[in-house]
Symmetry: C2
Subunit: 330 residues, 2 copies
DNA sequence: CTGAAAGCGCTAACAG
DNA sequence: CTGTTAGCGCTTTCAG
C-alpha cells in the first residue's frame, strides 16, 4: 500500500499524489480531491521512514525525564503530549532513572529519531549538554545554559516565600534539604533560601545532596534532627513526605515539633497526612511552553534559531505541615 | 556524516562497512575493526530512517497507556523501558487520556513508526482492537482477546481474597465500586467478587461505571452510602482514596464505620491515611513480560506468530483501611 | 498545474 | 570474505 497505488488509483503520477498529500496548494483542487479520495479508499498510510529519509524531518519530539514515577513529571508529560499532538507532532518519552550515563545515552539514541529534544531537569554537566545541544534543537526545563532555550520555573521566588512563611510563623532556625547533585532547581533554592533567611535574620542549615525520592527524605531524617532546626524546606514533595515518615518513626510530630515544606505540589503531598505545605510548580504550563519553544525553533528557517527563555511563576500552598514552633523548645 | 564517509575512511566499500556495523560475523575481524575504528573516529551515527526504510524494522516499540498520571502506570512503564533497552529496543510511550478516540488515533499514528505495540488496559472494543492487531504485532496487558498475546494480572484471585478478607472480619454486606466501561479488570473483579460473595453467603452490591480517578471515588460516595454496605472494594487505589475522602467529608469513619479496599498498591494508597488495604498488582513484571512477548513475536520468523498468554499473580496487602464492622450498626 | 527523474542513507541479494 | 548493483517509499527539483 504505497503512494504508487494511490497515484494509480487516482490516475495521476506519483509526484502529483505526493503533492496532493502534502503541499496541497500546488495542485488543482479537483485532482487533489481525487487523490485524497483514492488514499482514503485504499486506507493509505504514508511510510514515515521514507518520508523522514527524504525530508530529514520526523515530526517526532523527544522528552527526557529523570523518573516517570516521580509525580512531578506526569502532568508535564501529559500536557506536552496533548499540546504536541495538536501541533502535529508526536512525543516520545524516555526515563533516565536518575542515571547520568543513561541520560547521555538516551539523548544520543533519541536524537536520531526526533527533530528536537526537551530535557527536563537534566543532571548532566553544562558542557556535555551544550555539546549535545549543538547537534539538534534542545529545550531545557529547569536548567539554564547559555545558548540553549529554556523553560524555567521560578523556584527561587517560591523558596523565598517558604522561608518567609516559616519566619512569619516564628521559626528562627531552618534547614534546607537539597536535591541531587547537578540539579539546577536545588541550586536555585539554596541561593534564594539563603538570601531570604539572612534577610530575615534567621539561621539556615543546608543539607545534602539527597536522592529526590521518599527514600532520600527518610535517609535525611537524622541529619535534619541533628541541626536542631524547627522548620525544614525539602527539595520536593517526595523528600518531604519521606522526611515526615522518618520523623514520625522517631516520634517527632509534624507540624507540632517540626514544620515541613515540600516543592512541586503533587498528589503525594496532597494525600500525605498532615497534608503538605508546598511550593506549587507550574508543570503543565511548562510542558506546553517547552513544546511551543521547540516547535518554534524547528519551524523557523534560521540556521541557528534564537534561544528563547520563558520563566513561569510558582506559589506557596499552605496546608497542614507548617505551624508556629513549639514554645517550650528551641 | 554517512556510512559512505566511514567506508572511505576505512578504505572499504559501503556494503562492507554496512556489514561490519550490523551483521558483524560476515566480515573479516581485521576489516571490521578498521571500520568500527573509523566510525568511532568520525562519530558516525546511522540514520535510523534510512535503516528502517530498507529493513522495514525500526527497533522501536509503542506503549499505550490510558493515563500516565495514574500511579499504576509509571512502574510498568519504567520496567518496560529499562528491559527493552537491554534488548536493544526503544520504547515510545503515549497517553490516551482515557479517551477511546484518542486511543485509536494514537495506535494508528504510532503503528507507522514502531515494530509492535503494547496496549495497557485498552478501552476500545474487542473487534476494533482485533482489527488493528491484524496490522502489526500487539501485546495486550489486562485485556483478553482471542488471537492476541496478552499479559494478564490475576485480579480475579485478588478480588476473591478481598471479599474473603472482609467476610472474615465479619462484614455481611459489601459494595463493589467498578471502573470505566470497557475495562477488562473491572469485569474480572465483578465476576470474581460476585462468586466469592455468594460462596461466603454475603450480599454484594455492584456500582458503576466510574472514572478510574480520585474524582471518580468522590463521586461514588453517595451511592456507596445508599447501599448500606460496611465493606467496599474499589476499582483501584485512586478511586479508593477518593471514596475515603468523600466519606471523610460526610463524617463517616474508615475503617470504623466502613472498610475500604483498593487495587494496584500504588504510592497513593501507601500515603493515604488510613493507609490503604489493597490488592497488589505486579506492574513491573507485567511491563517486562509484555516487552518479552512482543520481542519474541517480532523476532520469530513465523508469519503469524503464536499468541502467548502470561498470567501474573496478585496478592492482598492488609493495612489500616479495613477492620471488623461496627457492632452497633448494620 | 502535472509528469519525469533523481536521490535521501542504508541494506541485501548476487557475483566473484 | 568483499565489491557491485538495485531499490526500500517518498519528496523535490526540473521541465514542460
Amino acid at each position: 500500500m504505497t503512494i504508487r497505488d494511490v497515484a494509480q488509483a487516482a490516475g495521476v503520477h506519483v509526484s502529483t499524489a505526493s503533492r496532493a498529500l502534502t503541499a496541497s496548494s500546488l495542485v488543482k483542487k479537483e485532482t487533489r480531491d481525487r487523490v485524497l479520495a483514492a488514499a482514503e479508499e485504499l486506507g493509505y498510510r504514508p511510510n514515515e521512514s521514507a518520508r523522514a529519509l527524504t525530508t530529514g524531518r520526523t515530526r517526532n519530539l523527544g522528552l527526557i525525564v529523570s523518573d516517570i514515577a516521580n509525580p512531578f513529571f506526569p502532568p508535564l508529560i501529559k500536557a506536552a503530549q496533548a499540546y504536541a499532538r495538536v501541533r502535529g507532532y508526536q512525543v516520545f518519552v524516555a526515563d533516565t532513572d536518575e542515571d547520568v550515563r543513561v541520560e547521555e545515552e538516551l539523548i544520543q539514541t533519541l536524537a536520531r529519531q526526533v527533530d528536537g529534544v526537551i530535557l527536563v531537569s537534566p543532571r548532566l554537566s553544562d558542557d556535555v549538554i551544550a555539546r549535545l545541544g549543538g547537534e539538534l534543537p534542545f529545550v531545557l526545563v529547569n536548567r539554564q545554559i547559555t545558548g540553549l532555550s529554556a523553560v524555567l520555573m521560578d523556584v527561587a521566588h517560591g523558596a523565598a516565600l517558604a522561608v518567609d512563611h516559616l519566619a512569619g510563623l516564628g521559626h528562627g532556625h531552618l534547614a534546607l534539604v537539597c536535591g541531587p547533585r547537578g540539579s539546577w532547581t536545588s541550586a536555585q533554592m539554596r541561593r534564594a533560601a539563603g538570601k531570604a533567611a539572612s534577610d530575615a535574620g534567621i539561621r539556615l542549615d543546608v543539607l545534602g545532596p539527597n536522592a529526590p525520592t521518599e527514600q532520600g527524605g527518610i535517609a535525611a531524617t537524622a541529619e535534619v534532627l541533628r541541626t536542631g532546626a524547627t522548620g525544614v524546606i525539602c527539595y520536593n514533595d517526595l523528600v518531604a513526605v519521606g522526611l515526615i515518615e522518618g520523623l514520625d518513626e522517631r516520634r517527632v510530630r509534624v507540624p507540632g515539633d517540626i514544620s515541613v515544606i515540600g516543592v512541586d505540589d503533587t498528589v503525594a503531598g496532597r494525600l500525605n497526612r498532615p497534608r503538605l505545605t508546598t511550593i506549587a510548580m507550574p508543570t503543565a504550563p511548562a510542558g506546553r511552553t517547552a513544546i511551543d519553544l521547540l516547535i518554534q525553533a524547528l519551524e523557523s528557517a534560521e540556521p541557528a534559531p534564537a534561544t528563547a527563555q520563558s520563566t513561569l511563576t510558582t506559589s506557596l500552598v499552605v496546608r497542614d505541615s507548617t505551624a508556629p514552633p513549639d514554645q517550650s523548645a528551641d
